[in-house]
């Protein structure tokens, strides 16, 4: 039996020991323990070091709000997690845990030198100290700070666990299964409503689990909880434990993170570790209770100093006495009950120190009966002890005057500064808060969502009040659904009502300037830091927060916000509501990235679109690249070839004889209807009226701002039918843009738009032998009237096809479209028929090289959303005689016609070295820095001509033909000559062959 475990007590299983390690030492706990309760049972309070000062720390709470007891947990390979709260992590066999922020060991830590130098590390320390000299930031300060900073250590391996996601629609969602939540669920579960009750703890019951002496309807608290949960289960209520409501979003959507396996000794194979629920609820009841506030005094962070409510929880839920001789310091009645319960279980309570002069007589009686010394109107001015509190100094207070103190030996100090309603989720909804001057706290006020707040979450105290409030809230939620029910009534015996007062930092009899009175334990923010921030000019609580880092730790101010506010308000001489509360943001507690990702990782991160010819490419050794959501064959290396060699071979084979390319990913849109030609005239820059059926044309699409949005070859198959192609990445965007104009600007046009991208498989044939090879396979085309830029519906290799004669390579070219289901058949037929011509399959890289040699642009690579047709040398594609088209008016805007715009040109390097895409271009490499950059390289390839080629946008580029520009690179400055973008066959002789 562990030294501080009370035999038979608590909700842990005394017959089921569980062993685990902490910092390499093996400990024994019980089934049902948390790591914190098991360590406390073994007398271990020291569980970590603080972030900034490396001060020794122990758990201050017993729940998810814990700021101190953060540990690393390891559940096997790849399953290390930093910053796990020891107060939440349930014990499981073989669990390996370690403390954080210490070196070389937890009890002797060198970083604690920061603590000696604390005068240097006051609020705003980073802002003040590391400002000068500027050059020191990169080289000295940042590396040192980064090395020392960080809470815990990051896992280094890929998370081997998987995470699930679910949607849930429910009539009433109740967050928090304490007395208010259970009462609300009982009320809401009437009339067949679908009710969901969630709680972040392993067990439902909330504070009742820590108050077993309370009796409800004649039953002891625990029996009552069991009976009600049974009733709820029988009524079909969904009960979810270990489930944290992390965020409350619009229209009653609540995110729940359910922890599924971290508490299991042997998780079922394949079970998800956590599950994220996206719940849409008709009504929400927030019954999250209240969080106990620490008191602020010198040495309030010493291991052994913890919240009184936490000690009560360790006692009743886990059967753990947090010390043999606790002292109590409180400003609220609730801590008295903790003292009584500990005394009744064998602890020798050193003293109850209450800051109030007058205390309820029944509480004084209770203390007297148990022989506990009471010091009313007293405070604690300091604590002593190196790694654990050994004594506290209690002193009488009259106003701000502190009288003569005396040391009271103890092995722990239980404190209570009152209770703060848990308003986080309510605040996520932007519900407004009202300051309750009596309770010195914020309470929920104006609601924005269909929600009710019940119990301690809206400032109520005592089980009778909380149960009645929960029942009323549950009934209101039910009525909000248009259903009826009756309000439950509860009779409570041995209730524990209470009130208290609120303080800023407690007065001290020592040097106030040297007091180490902590507000934010995790970030080591003291009361003095808050006052310093105010003195240095911070007026808004948001500024105070950022200057001091108060409330910015992983507990998000659950412990510290109200204390920080009270002290800031005091320093500013304002009422707390005038200073305001910092914003609460989701998630409520730290949530794993895995839970947010859910299934969206690895192969299922996003869908992969594959063409009908993809399987052939894979079987034939293609290397793939992602393009938009497609995976496209990039190149087809032969054994021993690297990418460069493969691409060069593919390029040469195509230019010499015949290449074949899977172009199925091209976007395709069918524009059909009596007004199709008018629609095309209005959308695209080019004139379409005179384009005869059976012919095609390069189309250029602008935004209304005059910049290039997309391009592609468009065929007119009949007077009222256009087969539009778009860039691979632009297909959806172009269709949306067309739909937008058709639906909202020109609804009078009789036109139908259909996305046909995936209906057609498209195979491109290019090369001097393309025509000879294809001809015998085609039926239904009049070859005497099928010049470059023609299209026809016909059959190819016996398959129904739309055949386009066009070229994106500068060679004779065709694009054969067949229904997608025939794509692979077409490809294999063409491969077979191409054998005599040494047909060569090529990928996207060769396609890029061949098009770049001809100066054909890729929208989105050679253009970037600021390039006009004129900038790209595509003026010829603009139908200037047309009265209007999308973007036309912008082409005469002053900025668009101004001189000095960046224009698309070719570049050839002097030394024949390749340029890097994205490299910046300057006119004078010897100018002082920062240099004037006049443009950048947009495309760069090794070419079939024996030297690299590049395209670039350069200010006034068209007027710089033949001039030299410079491209400074890390390994030296490149010199390049400005040329035309057409590097290969500028007279298009090969197209006409």
């Amino acid at each position: 039996m562990s030294r501080f475990r009370i035999p038979g007590k608590g909700r842990v299983d005394h017959s089921a020991p569980v062993s685990f390690t902490f910092d390499g030492k093996t400990y024994r706990g019980l089934r049902g323990d948390t790591v914190a309760s098991a360590l406390l049972a073994n007398g271990v309070h020291l569980m970590g070091r603080s972030f900034k000062y490396h001060r020794p720390r122990g758990p201050v709470t017993a729940g998810s709000e814990e700021p101190n007891a953060l540990i690393g947990t390891s559940r096997g390979a790849g399953r290390f997690e930093p910053n796990t709260r020891a107060t939440v992590q349930e014990l499981r066999a073989g669990l390996v845990t370690e403390s954080q922020n210490k070196w070389p060991s937890l009890s002797f830590d060198i970083g604690a030198v920061n603590d000696r130098a604390y005068m240097l590390f006051s609020a705003g320390f980073y802002y003040k100290t590391f400002m000068w000299p500027k050059s020191f930031w990169d080289k000295v300060y940042e590396p040192v700070i980064r090395g020392a900073a960080g809470l815990g250590k990051s896992p280094t391996e890929v998370d081997p666990d998987h995470y699930a996601s679910r949607y849930l629609h429910t009539d009433v969602l109740i967050v928090g299964a304490g007395p208010a939540g259970i009462a609300a669920a009982l009320a809401a579960a009437q009339s067949g409503a679908d009710v969901t009750l969630v709680d972040e703890n392993a067990e439902m019951g909330g504070s009742l689990l820590s108050d077993p002496a309370v009796q409800i309807d004649g039953k002891p608290a625990w029996d009552w909880v069991d009976a009600q949960l049974g009733r709820l289960r029988a009524a079909g209520v969904r009960l979810m434990t270990r489930t944290t409501a992390i965020g409350y979003y619009h229209q009653n959507m609540v995110g729940l993170c359910q922890r599924l396996t971290d508490h299991l000794d042997n998780p079922p194979k394949g079970a998800p570790r956590e599950r994220m629920w996206r719940v849409r609820a008709g009504q929400v009841v927030l019954a999250q209770g209240a969080l106990e506030k620490p008191l602020v005094f010198d040495g309030n962070d010493r291991p052994g100093v913890m919240l009184a409510g936490a000690a009560q929880t360790y006692l009743h839920r886990y059967g753990v006495k947090v010390g043999d001789s606790p002292a109590v310091l409180t400003s609220h009645d609730s801590a008295w009950y903790a003292a009584f319960d500990l005394a009744d279980n064998g602890a020798r309570v050193a003293a109850i120190i209450d800051t109030r002069d007058v205390v309820r007589p029944d509480l004084l009686d209770g203390a007297r009966k148990r022989g506990i010394e009471v010091l009313a109107g007293h405070t604690v001015t300091t604590t002593r002890g190196r790694l654990r509190v050994k004594s506290v100094r209690a002193a009488p207070v009259r106003g701000t005057h502190v009288g003569r103190g005396r040391d009271i030996p103890c092995d722990c100090l239980l404190m209570s500064g009152g209770w703060t309603p848990s308003l986080h989720l309510f605040s996520h909804t932007k519900g407004s808060l009202a300051w309750d001057a009596d309770g010195n706290t914020f309470l929920p006020d104006r609601k924005t969502e269909e929600c009710e707040i019940a119990g301690a979450g809206r400032g109520l105290w005592g089980y009778q009040a909380v149960l009645a409030d929960g029942a009323a809230a549950g009934l209101r939620a039910l009525q909000g659904l248009g259903r009826a029910g009756h309000e439950g009534r509860f009779t409570v015996a041995n209730d524990r009502p209470g009130t208290g007062v609120s303080h800023t930092e407690l007065p001290t009899d020592g040097n106030a300037g040297k007091a180490r009175a902590f507000i934010d334990f995790q970030n080591d923010v003291t009361a003095k830091d808050i006052r310093l921030a105010v003195r240095e000019g911070m007026r808004s609580i948001e500024h105070v927060k950022r200057y001091t880092t108060n409330g910015m730790a992983t507990d998000q101010g659950k412990m510290s916000n109200i204390n920080g506010l009270m002290i800031a308000a005091d320093a500013l001489g304002k009422a707390p509501p005038q200073v305001g509360l910092t914003t609460f943001r989701p998630p409520y507690t730290p949530t794993s990235f895995g839970a947010f990702c859910g299934y969206l990782r690895g192969e299922t991160f996003q869908l992969t679109r594959k063409t009908p010819i993809d399987s052939w490419a894979e079987a034939n050794g293609a290397v793939f690249e992602p393009v938009a959501q497609w995976r496209r064959a990039w190149y087809f290396p032969k054994p021993g070839e690297d990418m460069h060699a493969a691409v060069l071979r593919e390029c040469k084979a195509t230019r010499a004889s015949l290449g074949i390319f899977d172009a199925s990913t091209l976007g395709k849109i069918e524009v059909a209807g009596p007004d199709a030609v008018e629609f095309m005239n209005r959308m695209y820059t080019n004139p379409w009226t005179k384009l005869a059926p059976g012919r095609c044309r390069y189309g250029l699409l602008l935004g209304e701002d005059g910049f290039i949005r997309d391009d592609g070859v468009i065929g007119r198959l009949s007077p009222d039918l256009f087969h539009v192609t778009t860039t691979t990445g632009g297909a959806a965007r172009v269709l949306t843009m067309m739909e937008d104009y058709l639906q909202t600007e020109w609804p009078d046009l009789d036109v139908w738009l259909t996305s046909t991208t995936e209906q057609w498989a498209t195979v491109a044939l290019n090369g001097p032998n393309a025509l000879a090879m294809l001809k015998p396979l085609v039926q239904g085309v009049d070859w005497d009237d099928f010049p470059h830029m023609s299209c026809a519906e016909c059959t190819v290799a016996g398959l129904p096809a739309r055949l386009f004669r066009l070229s994106f390579t500068g060679e004779i070219g065709f694009e054969v479209n067949v229904p997608a289901r025939h794509g692979l058949a077409l490809w294999t037929a063409l491969m077979e028929a191409g054998k005599p011509y040494d047909i060569c399959p090529y990928g996207t890289e060769t396609m890029h090289v061949l098009r770049a040699e001809k100066g054909y642009i890729i929208v989105g690579q050679d253009t970037d959303g600021t390039v006009t047709p004129a900038d790209a040398g595509l003026d010829w594609a603009v139908g200037k005689a047309k009265k209007d088209f999308v973007g036309k008016r912008s082409l005469s805007r002053p900025d668009i016609t101004a001189k000095g715009r960046k224009q698309l040109v070719g570049l050839l390097t002097e030394d024949g070295s390749p340029l890097q895409e994205g490299a910046q271009i300057v006119l004078d490499p010897n100018q002082p820095k920062p240099m004037k950059m006049v443009g950048h390289v947009t495309s760069s390839y090794q070419s079939t001509m024996g030297h690299p080629i590049a395209m670039a946008v350069i200010e006034g580029g068209f007027d710089k033909m033949g001039e030299t520009v410079f491209i400074p690179m890390p390994d030296g400055v490149r010199k390049a000559r400005v040329t035309s973008t057409v590097f290969y066959d500028p007279d298009n002789t090969r197209l006409k062959a």
């Binding site: 229209q251 996206r278 932007k430 209304e704 937008d740 909202t744 009265k883 209007d884 008016r889």
Partner: protein, 97 residues
Amino acid sequence: MLLIHCPYCEDTLPELEFTYAGEAHIARPADPSALSDEEWRDFLFIRTNARGPHYERWRHIGCGRFFNALRDTVSDRFLMTYKAGEARPTLTNEAAE
């Protein structure tokens, strides 16, 4: 995640099914060439940027239709949605509520 009512589908559906499409009731001029540079600039770039109720366009990806909405940019609450081409509804106190 918001729920948005598509006036064409007459169904209230998750925000994931919709995309935002800019401010509403900015009609493309019938003859852009008749506009001065300043007028065209205003059509292209100048927007209300309302703090509060804002007339704006959305597209329901599911049915492909563009429609108009009145949304409060402070509360991120949809006050109403209506079909493209319908007149700009006046903001009643009830809707603003």
